[in-house]
């Protein structure tokens, strides 16, 4: 998985490319741990994300909770596979998806 980070003031955008799964979720977890301190708004750009498994959902839930007290988190450009995972697991109701 490739992680690309863009910081605009306190707005942080993280774009993921590849697969967010058991092997790669720890990479995103570490990146968020290092980067979320100064961010008030987080955007996760999934335009190049192929799929997500439950290991990735766990990291998204953590990030969602961390950002809930600040400006919030949104997920953008979700493909059909990722959208299905969000729908089936109820994450579509928890996350802000645009």
């Amino acid at each position: 998985m490739k992680i690309t980070k863009k910081q605009d003031g306190t707005q942080l955008t993280i774009a993921l490319e590849g697969r967010l799964d058991t092997t790669t979720a720890p990479e995103l977890e570490k990146e968020l741990k290092d980067s979320l301190g100064g961010a008030t708004e987080l955007t996760l750009d999934f335009s190049k994300l192929d799929y997500i498994s439950s290991a990735g959902l766990r990291v998204l839930l953590q990030a969602h909770k961390t950002m809930a007290g600040k400006g919030g988190m949104k997920v953008t450009n979700v493909n059909e596979i990722v959208g299905e995972v969000f729908d089936v697991t109820g994450f579509a109701d928890i996350l802000t998806i645009e």
Binding site: R19, D21, T22, T23, D50, Y51, I52, S53, S54, A55, L57, R58, L61, H64, K65, A68, E80, I81, E84, V85, V88, T89, G90, D93, I94
Partner: protein, 135 residues
């Protein structure tokens, strides 16, 4: 029937995915079904790698089968760990809020929802979990 035997380690998940994807690509499997199967591999082989041998090192076998008449692909995960039937777990409550969510159970639930069938058997002191997906 194609077979891959390897150490049940998280680092080996990509090797399993590659093995199954090669079979699916040869069968002109639609990309959506292939990715759903890849997610299922991550959930199921990942569970075996993390839990089947209680932290000790063990082996797992992945079998691929295809019923051409039904266009049904089947992947079986075999491990020699303690008896564990993931299908016997209660489904998680997917209506809970972020604060109420508890870890666990989502992966197998996702597999049940996206595959056309999932079966568990305990046989010869091994756990055998099979997923079926029409491609």
């Amino acid at each position: 029937m194609k077979e891959l035997k390897l150490k049940a380690r998280v680092e080996n998940i990509p090797q399993v995915t590659e093995f199954i994807d090669a079979q699916l690509e040869a069968l002109d499997c639609p990309m959506k079904a292939q990715m759903q199967i890849d997610v299922a591999i991550d959930e199921l082989f990942g569970n075996i790698a993390q839990y089947a041998y209680g932290g000790a090192e063990g082996e797992a076998t992945v079998l691929f089968d295809f019923d051409a008449a039904e266009r049904m692909a089947s992947v079986t995960f075999v491990d020699g760990g303690a008896p564990f039937n993931p299908l016997a777990q209660d489904d998680p409550d997917v209506t809970l809020s972020a604060e109420e969510r508890v870890a666990g159970g989502l992966g197998i639930y996702l597999v049940k929802k996206t595959m056309d069938g999932v079966e568990y058997r305990r046989e010869n002191d091994e756990n055998r979990l099979t997923i079926h997906k029409r491609i």
